[in-house]
Amino acid sequence: MIIVENLSIRLGELEIVRGLSFTLAPGEVLGLVGESGSGKSMTALAVLGLLPPGMRASGSIRFEGQDLLRLSERELRAVRGRRIGMVFQEPMTALNPVMTIGAQIAEGVIRHGLADAAGASKRALRLIARVGLPDPAARLHAYPHELSGGQRQRALIALAIACRPALLVADEPTSALDVTVQAELLALLREIRDETGMAMLFITHDLAVVSRLADRTLVLYGGRAMETGATRALLAAPRHPYTHGLLAAIPRGNAHANPLRPMPGQVPELDRLPPGCPFFGRCPKGDALCRDVPPPPVPGASIAWCHRPEAAP
């Protein structure tokens, strides 16, 4: 349904994302995982054609028979909100503080000509009930500051799915919230996916979140793909040393039996990456080959871009 091929995003000389490719089938959830600065949020904005000024995307993003990177601004506007919905990270700031929740949900529906004002308002009321906000009729006329963080994020989800898009792009939608609220929202997103069959590109830094929601996972580092595959297989037996490191850094169970191992080093500056693998320098297995030659994709239980992948068990 969406086929991204060789996507690169540049800011002047800086290559924020390089040669990224992935596909997404209807009803499928792809988790895009990476630390801050890995290029995951810019990938999401590139899909919507909303990259910040100065950033250029190349390659192709094929969606419903069109290449999104070659559409005019007017053609993109017909896709945004209508065929592709987006949920942003910060529920506190992503809603307009001076507009009611109902008006903000209805706005896109009216904009895309799916209903008149009265019909859009009715649809907003249904959506508010669907995303599980208490007392929907009152919430319709409420302002964002009258809602909690979790409730605002529910309102943002209602806003993003208001036009029944085929694809939902969610950029860290739960990262700013409490763990319990996080779990509720993940369950909500899964339900909506099951009901509507919409595909989801789910961006997060949190492998635990990915394990709950994503069918497949793509791990990014320094703007490049590190490893991709079915989420279960990838988490059970990571083949890339970076994925391995991410997993080891997740706290779990008994602290004595499973000591937490933070990854050494820091995410490097994009303009100081080696010509080879971007993870060279933090990788325990890195050698001269890794430093100088970009690693090829190595197929197996998952695909790892690594000269020294873990052998499949």
């Binding site: 919905g85 942003f88 001076v98 507009m99 706005e107 302002y143």
Partner: protein, 314 residues
């Protein structure tokens, strides 16, 4: 909202009463006997005492203050020492010049400054932006009376489109009166418009960088729609604050500009009253100016509530 309005109006009345007390006390402390000033050097102590009794100046201060307060409600503000006519009528007449002048100036300032600021913000860091901000820098630097003189030179003496001064009154209908007020209002408005344009520009640019603008764009709104529907209303909150502050300066501005255009307004009346030690007139006029500034502040607070639901009382 109604309770908020009532509370705000009660606050306004309390502030006005306090201002009246302060003005009265200050003028009470100042040296100089109005009766002596009115009668001149040849007056005898007896005639001065007689006039003091006639003007009520022999009464205790507290009683005179209360009489003045009551007069503010009924409109009976006493006799002007210099003009020998009721102060209420004098102020009312001049008010009919200064209020329309101030309102017209505010409307022109907002009507010029805010759209220019939006235009500059939507084309931020382009040539248009640079030109608009350069022009506004000029507007900031030039004082309003200089604009007044320049307009008289160009539009009155040069082109003959507008009168160079004077006021025909409202008896001939609003046409000639407004015609006489446009140049002075514009002279008052331009420096204000320059400030408003700069504030609007930075407020709109800041609002355009907010996350909710990205949400709006992701819904399928164009840049212009996101600006008008989402950024502008948020940006107006700081603009309204400045507009309210500017009104106080506008009142001072009318004093000067009414002089340039020979308009019989409150500003000129105040200058004359101060020159003639006309205490009766001064205290009511000063309270008038203070009251106008306070009323505009109350309006600004109410505008906040309308613009921003977070500022409405729960």
């Amino acid at each position: 909202m109604l309770r908020f309005l009532a509370a705000r109006i009660a606050m306004l009345v309390a502030a006005l009463a306090t201002a009246a007390l302060v003005i009265f006390l200050v003028l009470e402390i100042l040296p100089g006997d109005p009766a002596a000033a009115m009668l001149g050097v040849s007056a005898t102590p007896e005639t001065i005492a007689a006039l003091r009794a006639e003007l009520g100046l022999d009464q205790p201060a507290a009683r005179r203050f209360l009489r003045w307060l009551a007069g503010l409600v009924t409109g009976d503000l006493g006799l002007s020492y210099a003009y020998r006519v009721p102060v209420g009528g004098l102020i009312g007449e001049r008010f009919g010049v200064t209020l329309p002048l101030a309102v017209l100036a505010m409307l022109l300032a907002a009507g010029i400054g805010i759209p220019l600021g939006v235009a500059a913000a939507s084309r931020a860091n382009t040539r248009l932006d640079a030109v608009l901000m350069g022009v506004s820098q000029l507007g900031l630097a030039i004082p309003n009376f200089w604009f007044g003189l320049l307009f008289v030179l160009i539009f009155s003496i040069g082109l003959g489109w507008f009168p160079s001064g004077g006021f025909p009154g409202w008896s001939a209908g609003p046409g000639p009166a407004l015609h006489a007020l446009i140049l002075p209002a514009l002279a008052l408005a331009l420096p204000m418009a320059a400030v408003l344009a700069r504030i609007t520009r930075s407020a709109v640019i800041e609002a355009l960088g907010e996350d909710y603008i990205l949400t709006a764009r992701a819904k399928g709104l164009s840049r212009a729609e996101a600006l008008v529907r989402h950024a502008l209303r948020n940006a107006l909150i700081p603009v309204v604050t400045i507009l309210g502050l500017q009104f106080s300066f506008l009142l001072t501005g009318t004093v000067v500009v009414e002089g340039v255009f020979a308009l019989p307004g409150l500003g000129r009346l105040l200058i004359q009253a101060i020159g003639g030690h006309d205490l009766m007139l001064i205290r009511s006029l000063v309270l008038m100016f203070a009251g106008a500034a306070m009323a505009v502040n109350a309006l600004v607070d109410i505008a906040y509530g309308l613009l921003d639901p977070r500022m409405r009382p729960a």
